[in-house]
């Protein structure tokens, strides 16, 4: 059967499964809608957290980024897993004991301030929408490439599915669909990785395979071979980085603290019954995540070898069918600079500007003609990093059903994260903005109805992002983590570990961290993008890593301000004491 038919079968089967689960686990109260009634088993919560967390970025983009960046890609691997250690040790158990519904709930109550709650609500909504835009792009790529439907139709189908289980099911529905989505996505990620690992190294475990010798009988270690190939083609050797140590340090720190401060992840720990369940479910979540995160760098190394060996030096007319299909989607391009009809893959970017701009006509070999200027590099190939995971099974000539499975996995990753984010947005509006701030008189049934309406509106807005993708999606992803690191992580941490931290300190710290991080990113990404280079960065820290400095400023300012302002009221100090003790008092 063709890839397209198989993809349809897998997508219909998995979507049917998600809808079935949604009907079975409908929410009937606000408690169920926001936190699944607080009685999710820790193992189920671990799997749901893993699916919630691993987005289109983890599933589709990360291995592709590492494939091209080599050693520098480690910032994502360490940053996006190390945050769970902070979450498990410093935040999750205490937030569970606090036993409310949302992150702004904690900030508003702990700092006895409606203003602090509103600042938190704005951050939650901004961070979550930034993130959703990326998910919708992932859904669009998968649909347009594998089902060959219009991207817009794909996005609308995705929206309809999420609408069904997020609006009906709330947190309860989302939790159990996420468990199913985790199973689909991890299976879809591991199967091709195992196949390719056996092909290249004879080792069925990809995380060990990429430290093994090649299966071609040469006895050479795979990574040594890859270092040799990349160096020969004039690229940075795979296991050597090109980013400065200080930048790597700050980006990794920002990603870790950002992960621990992301509201849609934190809120998952409100759904388990006890404090000890919150601790262990963070452990389960990280095991589930590590399964993909230790495989991703292996997939990256395998993909780089396969691209070099299967593409470089091949005549365009002999290129496999997938090459032309990805060209059609605009995510792959070839410019025959030396006119020999063969594809040369070398160091440096092939095109100027970097992203391909196609004309309507065909080139001499039948390729899509480009309007870009040629760069001085001998490289003729443009590959979008987002296609590596999807294209790799075809590059490695795996059976069609594996290719289709990966498409279904990519959709599971994107949809599960989108649903978690939508729920956070809807509870921020119905619970924090209306019930707790402006309209405290509404009944629970009214609050539940508003929660459903705001989830529906949020889905519509997310869909518009998918159909008219803002050009700045990639640029603003740094925002989500930077802002979470510079705002939420310090105020939540201090709210637990310092009884003395007060309203004035928290608000001053949060505003300092936010404004500093926001301005730095906006300056380098939007106001003066031309100056976005190491020599202009403060201390050599890129906008991607500046959130870590914003976090340090937040800690410093809030500690200083709280020293010179009155201590929090006695009942708040008692609250802090009580969340530190697991047993109910």
């Amino acid at each position: 059967m063709s890839v397209q038919v198989l993809t349809y079968i897998f997508v219909i089967l998995t979507f049917g499964l998600y809808i079935g689960i949604a009907i079975w686990s409908r929410s009937t109260s606000t408690n169920e809608f926001y936190v699944a009634g607080g009685h999710v088993h820790p193992l189920a919560n671990g799997a749901a957290t893993a699916a919630d967390w691993m987005s289109a970025a983890s599933f589709l983009s990360m291995a592709g980024i590492i494939a091209f960046e080599g050693a520098d890609g480690a910032r994502y691997l360490m940053g996006w897993t190390g945050g769970y250690v902070l979450l498990a040790l410093c935040l999750a158990p205490y937030l569970r004991k606090f036993a409310k519904f949302t992150v702004p709930d904690f900030i508003g109550d702990r700092y006895y301030s409606r203003r602090a709650r509103l600042v938190a609500v704005i951050c939650v909504i901004f961070i979550s929408f930034t993130y959703i835009a990326g998910q919708m792009r992932g859904v669009g790529i998968v649909f347009s490439r594998f089902l060959e439907v219009d991207i817009n139709v794909g996005v609308i189908i995705g929206m309809a599915i999420v609408f069904f289980y997020a609006v009906l099911g709330g947190m309860k529905g989302i939790t159990y669909t996420q468990v199913a989505q985790y199973c689909v996505l991890i299976f879809a990620y591991l199967v091709p990785a195992v196949f390719i690992s056996i092909m290249l190294t004879d080792n069925p475990l990809p995380m060990l395979g990429f430290g093994s010798t090649m299966s071609d009988g040469s006895g050479v270690f795979l990574l040594d071979k890859l270092d040799g190939l990349t160096s020969d083609l004039g690229m940075t050797a795979f296991t050597e980085g090109s980013k400065s140590t200080i930048d790597m340090f700050f980006i990794t720190a920002a990603l870790m603290a950002g992960t621990a401060g992301l509201p849609h992840v934190i809120v998952r720990f409100f759904t388990v019954p006890r404090v000890r369940d919150a601790r262990i479910s963070a452990g389960y979540a990280l095991i589930f995540i590590a399964l993909l995160y230790t495989t991703a760098p292996a997939v990256a190394a395998f993909a780089r070898i396969n691209i070099i060996q299967n593409i470089d030096g091949i005549a365009y007319s002999d290129a496999p069918a997938w090459f032309g299909k990805w060209e059609d989607s605009g995510l792959l391009a070839w410019m025959d600079k030396n006119g020999d009809g063969k594809i040369q893959y070398r160091g440096g970017s092939a095109l100027s500007p970097t992203k391909p701009v196609f004309s309507a006509s065909e080139g001499p070999s039948g390729e899509r003609q480009l309007l870009n200027e040629a760069t001085s590099s001998a490289n003729e190939l443009y590959i979008d990093r987002d296609i590596i995971v999807l294209a790799h099974p075809e590059i490695a000539k795996l059976p069609n059903w594996v290719v289709a499975l990966v498409a279904a996995g990519g959709l599971a990753a994107a949809l599960s994260t989108a649903a978690g984010l939508l729920l956070v947005i809807s509870s921020a509006i119905s619970h924090d903005l209306l019930k707790m701030s402006f309209r405290p008189e509404i009944s629970e049934q009214q609050e539940l109805r508003i929660a459903r309406i705001s989830a529906a509106v949020a889905i519509a807005i997310a869909g518009i992002f998918g159909i008219y993708p803002p050009g700045f999606v990639a640029e603003v992803v740094a925002f989500a983590f930077g802002l979470a690191a510079a705002s939420f992580f310090p105020v939540i941490f201090l709210g637990i570990f310092s009884t003395r931290m007060n309203r004035e300190g928290a608000i001053a710290g949060m505003m300092t961290g936010l404004i500093f991080t926001f301005s730095y990113i906006v300056y380098f990404k939007f106001i003066d993008p031309a100056s976005n280079h190491t020599e202009n960065w403060w201390f050599g820290i890129s906008p991607e890593g500046i959130g870590a400095l914003g976090m340090v400023l937040n800690f410093a300012v809030s500690s200083l301000v709280s020293k010179f302002t009155p201590a929090p009221p006695q009942e708040i100090q008692d609250l802090v004491q009580s969340i530190r003790i697991p047993r109910k008092d």
């Binding site: 590492i66 050693a71 890609g73 480690a74 691997l77 360490m78 897993t81 190390g82 769970y84 250690v85 498990a88 040790l89 410093c90 158990p93 995380m207 990429f210 430290g211 093994s212 010798t213 270690f221 795979l222 990574l223 040594d224 296991t239 980085g241 140590t245 790597m248 340090f249 990794t252 720190a253 870790m256 006890r274 404090v275 000890r276 601790r279 262990i280 963070a282 452990g283 990280l286 095991i287 590590a290 995160y293 230790t294 760098p297 570990f497 004491q577 530190r580 003790i581 697991p582 047993r583 109910k584």
Partner: protein, 84 residues
């Protein structure tokens, strides 16, 4: 022994700081600051610094959380603050 809530909190913070220093050492230490230095050593088919940054740190993270869970449950019981 002192079984007050303050003593419980001190034991908790001490455990947390101990585990976080390992967390820092394997990721920021071995994976970033000592990356180039450790890369002169070979660990199976990997350069050692590269292994820490792309594999090792993650294995340590998982281990750290489970040690934390196990030790905290013990401390909870020791101070009589465990949940029913």
């Amino acid at each position: 022994m002192d079984t007050s809530k303050d003593a419980y909190w001190r034991a908790n913070v001490k455990l947390m700081l101990g585990l976080l220093s390992i967390w820092f050492a394997v990721s920021f230490g071995c994976g970033i600051l000592l990356f180039d230095y450790l890369n002169q050593f070979k660990f199976f088919g990997w350069k050692l610094g590269f292994w820490f940054s792309q594999q090792g740190a993650i294995y340590f993270f998982v281990l750290l959380i489970f040690v934390y869970v196990w030790q905290m449950n013990r401390i909870d019981r020791l101070f009589g603050v465990e949940e029913e």
